[in-house]
């Protein structure tokens, strides 16, 4: 873990260093890791991920508009969910309907760590495991060291003067870019705000139990048209 932490600090930039998430996940005994950053408004953006189910896990939280990633990123809350099948656990009360849906993905444990500088929340690091069970004491210590380092690296890179905004924006920054593209497309189609368009898209994904990203791609390829009318549905 320490050699990876060192490598993080020495990335020359621009943009956010591609992080060795796979190695970190293995060190923490996890099947996946996702790095999310919190923009100024609400919500949270997935920027890097490792693991077969990581994108699906974040997709689910984005569709439902709730979950540990979002809470960690927006409120700086630590969420350790060692067993999603436990009906008495905090997760079942805090995010109704989410634990069951996460288990349907094959995931039994989720751990969301806030990334923060001082009192300010920057984002979150969310790990998951197919097998239930808590993180060991050593793994927890490593995870905290990792999030502290990540937060510092992110702040250091953000503090660097950006070259005319050009290079940074050429980087594939957002893993859910297509969702935003689809909301832009919907907003033009229906003459509604992007905020409203996202609600529409999320509603469709939720109602049809399909990943948000898949629905977004259908919109972009004109396979799906959503009408912003009461009870409006797609093709």
């Amino acid at each position: 873990m320490t050699s990876y932490l060192r490598a993080l600090h020495t990335h020359p930039g621009p943009g956010l260093a591609p992080l060795p998430l796979e190695a970190c996940a293995q060190a923490l005994g996890l099947d996946g890791l996702a790095l999310l950053l919190a923009p100024a408004g609400t919500g949270v953006e997935l920027v890097q991920s490792f693991g077969t189910h990581s994108v699906a896990l974040e997709d689910l939280q984005l569709t439902q508009g709730q979950g540990p990633s979002r809470d960690a990123a927006q409120h700086g809350a630590l969420h350790l969910l060692p067993d999603l099948s436990d009906p008495t656990a905090f997760a079942a009360r805090r995010w109704p309907g989410l634990p069951g849906a996460v288990q349907d993905l094959g995931i039994m444990a989720v751990f969301s760590f806030p990334l923060h500088i001082g009192v300010i929340a920057l984002g979150a690091l969310t790990g998951h495991r197919i097998r239930p069970g808590p993180l060991g004491a050593d793994q927890l210590a490593d995870a905290f060291a990792l999030t502290d380092t990540l937060a510092q690296v992110i702040i250091d890179q953000a503090a660097r003067p950006q070259p005319a905004g050009g290079m940074l924006l050429d980087e594939p920054g957002l893993l859910f870019a297509e969702v935003h593209q689809a909301t832009g497309m919907l907003s033009a189609q229906q003459n509604i705000s992007c905020t409203r368009a996202l609600v529409l898209l999320r509603g469709y994904a939720y109602a049809h139990n399909r990943p948000l990203l898949t629905c977004a791609r259908d919109v972009l390829h004109h396979r799906l048209r959503l009408d912003d009318t009461p009870g409006g549905s797609g093709l």
């Binding site: 100024a40 300010i120 992110i154 702040i155 924006l169 935003h180 909301t183 497309m185």
Partner: protein, 246 residues
């Protein structure tokens, strides 16, 4: 204020000086509060604070009264005085009788002027945390005799608390600025993706081509890509970009 018991006023002073993580923090106002607490709690008649700019220049930040304020400003003009010495060395300047050979030798302009204003002695305490010295606090008496040891310790404690408060506020402020930059970058990314989809719809093209069109437009007009993207979403972008006929 003299009506409350001293212990209460002392406690209130420390709470005051720790309370810097407020939205509209004003360092000048804060340092003025420090001078007021010094005059209230210590056997001094006046207090003044000099604060350093990021470039290391001392500026008169606050004083408990006009007479002292004038003297601190003179101190800067003359580049002379206990605050200045204290800031440079980072250590306290112990009680010095102003009407003395030593004072006149050390501060040929400052000492006589201070005596003229009615001050008898002065002590200076650094505003310091570890290696960082951000300014200095002058404490003036108008009675004979020095400030006793426990009073000196209290004065230093007030100065130390103020210093910690200022440095914490600066650190948080800096963190907030950088975080805001990060968030602005993220917002830009989001807006650009939304605009790609929006323009693709309006121009009946693919998302990649829409991006190319926006970048070309931004380059040709010498405007930022993010601004073009926001205009596309607002519907305020130039017709040449939005209208397929162009």
């Amino acid at each position: 204020m003299p009506d409350r018991p001293r212990e209460e006023r002392l406690a209130a002073a420390f709470v005051d000086l720790a309370d810097t993580l407020v939205r509209d923090f004003d360092v000048i106002n804060f340092l003025h509060t420090l001078t007021e607490h010094c005059v209230d709690l210590l056997e001094v008649t006046a207090a003044g604070v000099l604060l350093a700019t990021p470039q290391g220049q001392l500026v008169d930040a606050a004083a408990s009264d006009e007479r002292t304020r004038g003297l601190e400003m003179n101190s800067i003009e003359w580049d002379e005085g206990p605050c200045r010495d204290c800031f440079r060395t980072g250590v306290p300047v112990p009680d010095v009788p102003l009407d003395s050979e030593m004072a006149r030798a050390r501060w040929p302009h400052f000492a006589p002027r201070a005596v003229q204003l009615g001050f008898t002695s002065v002590v200076a305490a650094p505003l310091r945390l570890h290696d960082q010295v951000i300014g200095a606090l002058n404490l003036f008496r108008d009675q004979p005799g020095p400030l006793n040891a426990s009073q000196l310790r209290l004065g230093q404690a007030l100065a130390d608390t103020a210093t910690i408060g200022i440095l914490q506020q600066r650190a948080v402020s800096e963190q907030m600025t950088v975080t805001a930059q990060l968030q602005a970058t993220l917002d830009s990314w989001i807006v650009i993706e939304q605009a790609k989809g929006c323009l693709a719809q309006l121009r009946d093209t693919g998302v990649e081509e829409a991006f190319t069109l926006m970048r070309a437009h931004a380059r040709n007009r010498s405007v930022r890509l993010t601004d073009v993207a926001r205009q596309v979403i607002d519907g305020t972008a130039d017709a040449s970009l939005l209208d397929p006929g162009q």
